[in-house]
């Protein structure tokens, strides 16, 4: 059993951290958020040059065939730096192509940094249910026609290619009848409405109006997309968990530093036992969360899909709990400064909060954990 990072992983993390410190610090990030584009082309170039985009892509497509553990290292660093570029969106979308073993040319473009992607999976009525899909895909002579609206698509307006889940058959909440497509984000009939998210990202609602796709756009057998959809999103959840660890490490360090320097009643506030124990509890939350992020990354590639679902959902639920506690308490311990937008801690808190609500919240993943047959079978 070995919990150490490889030398390559450590070097990757160090390089990313140095880049964040130099070119993606708090002030620079603030300017990017306030800019019209809301993302930074130069940051994207840097991520590509650092190899972060090639990392998850198979070697055959010009990547490094990085594992989920490798990605855990990357996402922690991006979380620590609160990097709001379309990295997660792109990597998540690319995972669907990898899992489907299709569209190698797009993976090559992702690896080289030429292509940004996004996964358009969510719909308004669905809340956290991935299978709750009203967007339709009807087959015709030329391929498929897509109609519907996808909401809160992270970096949906930046993406050159989209992964879209749509319904080929069945009722709105059936897991059967789901199809997955990859398509040009500028195809005729697509309109995108962009907006900011409260944690500084860009997102979009995307309307599909009689969008004609070729047959090659279909990723797996028509109507049988559910296992792929779940597997791809479990990958996304694992990335978010890793990101959350990075954000929590950073907000924890900032809070600890604040407790050591901020004076009240003539002493550093870190001398008050109630605040000390609060920090001790945050420390324990962080360590337990870290264990679960690790476990999820390890089990993600499990051949037993139930084992994967069970572990990934356990991790998201546990990390959601930790993220809420650590975020809220970090703000509380920062006092008045914690509720202003002026310190990084506030932005970390917002990001942690939105991670909890993304790709299934704590309650959703707790229910999914319980729904795995093993939960009751063990009894």
């Amino acid at each position: 059993m070995d919990f150490n990072l490889t030398q390559e992983q450590s070097q990757f993390a160090d390089a990313l951290r140095r880049w964040v410190e130099k070119d993606y610090n708090f002030e620079q990030r603030k300017h990017i958020i306030a800019s019209d584009a809301g993302v930074s082309p130069s940051a994207w170039t840097a991520l590509a040059e650092l190899g972060a985009l090639a990392l998850p892509i198979p070697e055959a497509q010009g990547g490094f065939s990085g594992t989920a553990i490798d990605m855990l290292v990357i996402m922690q660093e991006l979380g620590r730096g609160l990097v709001i570029e379309p990295y997660f969106a792109t990597v998540l979308a690319a995972e669907f192509l990898k899992l489907a073993g299709q569209h190698d040319h797009l993976l090559e473009q992702v690896a080289s940094g030429e292509l940004q992607m996004a996964a358009a999976l969510n719909e308004k009525q669905a809340r956290h249910e991935l299978f709750n899909i009203a967007t339709s895909a009807s087959q015709n002579a030329d391929g498929f026609v897509i109609n519907g609206v996808k909401t809160v698509v992270l970096h949906g307006a930046q993406a050159g290619q989209l992964i879209v889940s749509a319904r080929s058959s069945g009722a709105q909440r059936d897991s059967d009848g789901i199809s997955l497509f990859v398509l040009d984000a500028n195809a005729a009939g697509i309109s995108r409405r962009e907006y900011r998210s409260i944690d500084g990202y860009r997102a979009a609602d995307i309307t599909f109006n009689q969008v004609q796709l070729p047959s090659s756009a279909l990723l797996v057998t028509q109507g049988a997309g559910w296992p792929l959809l779940e597997a791809g999103c479990d990958y996304g959840v694992t990335l978010l968990c890793a990101e959350a660890i990075g954000v929590m490490e950073a907000i924890f360090a900032a809070t600890l530093d604040y407790l050591k320097t901020r004076q009240q009643f003539g002493v550093p506030i870190g001398k008050f036992q109630v605040l000390q124990h609060r920090m001790a509890e945050m420390f324990m939350e962080l360590e337990q969360a870290r264990s679960m992020a690790t476990l999820a990354a390890v089990k993600l590639s499990s051949e037993d899909a139930e084992e994967r679902r069970r572990t990934v959902s356990a991790a998201k639920a546990r990390i959601g709990q930790a993220a809420r506690y650590i975020g809220q308490q970090a703000v509380q311990l920062h006092g008045g400064m914690g509720v202003t937008n002026e310190l990084p801690a506030a932005h970390m808190f917002k990001r942690l909060t939105m991670i909890e609500l993304s790709l299934g919240d704590t309650d959703h993943h707790l229910a999914r954990f319980i729904a795995q047959p093993g939960f009751k079978a063990a009894a």
């Binding site: 909060t353 993304s358 707790l366």
Partner: protein, 400 residues
């Protein structure tokens, strides 16, 4: 033991309710119920409407134009306002500086300021906190030096205040300033009223978590304040400030508003779907709402118990009300955001500010919820953090 209002109180409640039905402008009500940002003119408009009715100053005696209501009637009035969705009457004038002026001000100060407060002719703000003071309120560094001059004696004020709520709109600020540095920190503090238009005052916004402009830093650079604006005696300001801190906790539990927000939460959750049913039907979610509702039921009775024992000013029980009240408020916003789920993410400042009728993603209920959640994290910090409130309970009630 009798938990019912008497007949007179009940008819008072009906009177307030029907008054509010007639006089609360629909646009203001809508803004409040939809969690939109309120602007200066919204506050002033509602203040002046209530002033016409004579109902602004519910905590003042009648001789100064207050209502002279009992604690029970004030509670009923606050409940009804919360239920109807009125904008708040900001506390800085009516509930904070006015009681100090009444108790410690001279006749000229009473005659000049109190009617202007009643009618919202001046927008007041509070100059207590300073950078670094935090929970240690008495550690004030802003200096006021008395200077004799031909035009009349005045103070020269230098220093900085912070967390000054809505100072960007203010005409007046009441300040704690240090007039004697050679004594222990609670002594040597004076209570000054300062015109915000005086040269040397600069206001710098502090942007909150939710990107709203709610508080400010206020800088004083050789600001001349006439000695006529000193309240009571020089160096006795800490006494007046402590007097005011008690008043500040009136209605701190905010049960009325929490009841209204609980209704919003239930309505909103009942419109969201989970497992092909309403989210409010989901056992896990319903259970969280029920726990919160029961906590609020309990708090309402706790408030009424405190009111019924109240001989005048709230005692250390106010700390309990503050802690439980803010915990409930924060939990309400938390459950609202959970109900909105991924729809919490879109940030639509134009909609919150009333510049667009509908939110960009089309869910007007959801649009303000994450902002609301983030904004309300302040409630367990301001007005004496909840940790400080527990210290008060520990010392004043438990004697530890």
């Amino acid at each position: 033991m009798d938990l019912n209002y008497n007949t007179e109180d009940l008819s008072f409640r009906d009177q307030v309710r029907s008054y509010l039905e007639t006089n609360l402008p629909a646009d203001l009500k809508h803004k409040v119920l939809q969690h939109k940002r309120l602007h200066k003119e919204d506050y002033v408009r509602w203040h002046k409407i209530l002033a016409k009715q004579g109902w602004v100053a519910t905590g003042w005696p009648t001789e100064f134009g207050g209502t002279g209501w009992s604690a029970t009637r004030r509670h009923i009035f606050e409940e009804e306002c919360a239920r109807a969705g009125t904008p708040p009457i900001l506390p800085f004038g009516v509930a904070m500086v006015a009681p100090v002026i009444m108790a410690f001000g001279n006749q000229a100060q009473k005659d000049y300021f109190l009617p202007r407060i009643l009618n919202c002719d001046d927008w007041w703000c509070q100059g207590y906190s300073e950078p670094g003071s935090g929970s240690d309120l008495a550690s004030i560094k802003t200096r006021a030096e008395r200077v004799n001059s031909l035009e009349g004696d005045h103070y020269v004020v230098n220093g900085q205040k912070t967390w000054t709520t809505l100072a960007q709109h203010a005409d007046m600020i009441f300040c704690l300033v240090r007039t004697d540095t050679g004594v222990r920190k609670q002594e040597g503090i004076s209570f000054l009223l300062i015109d915000m238009k005086t040269p040397g005052i600069t206001v710098r916004p502090i942007i909150m978590l939710d990107e709203d402009h709610e508080v400010n830093e206020v800088f004083f650079d050789n600001v001349k304040v006439p000695v006529q604006n000193l309240i009571g005696d020089e160096n006795k300001g800490w006494t007046y400030a402590k007097y005011l801190l008690g008043h500040e906790r009136t209605n701190i539990a905010a049960v009325g508003r929490a009841k209204r927000e609980l209704q919003f939460l239930k309505r909103y959750a009942s419109e969201q779907q989970k497992n092909a049913a309403s989210l409010l039907s989901d056992p896990i979610y319903a259970s969280k709402v029920a726990v919160l509702e029961i906590e609020l039921m309990a708090l309402e009775i706790t408030v009424l118990r405190v009111i019924s024992q109240d001989s005048g000013r709230p005692g250390p029980e106010a700390s309990l009300l503050k802690i439980k009240g803010t915990e409930i408020q924060q939990r309400l916003t938390e459950l609202m955001m959970e109900a909105a789920g991924p729809y919490s993410l879109p940030f639509d400042a134009a909609f919150l500010d009333g510049e667009s009728e509908h939110s960009i993603v089309g869910d007007d209920d959801a649009a303000p919820l994450a902002s609301y959640y983030f904004n309300y994290r302040k409630t367990s910090i301001y007005g004496g953090s909840n940790e400080i409130q527990k210290n008060i309970i520990t010392q004043m009630i438990l004697g530890l």
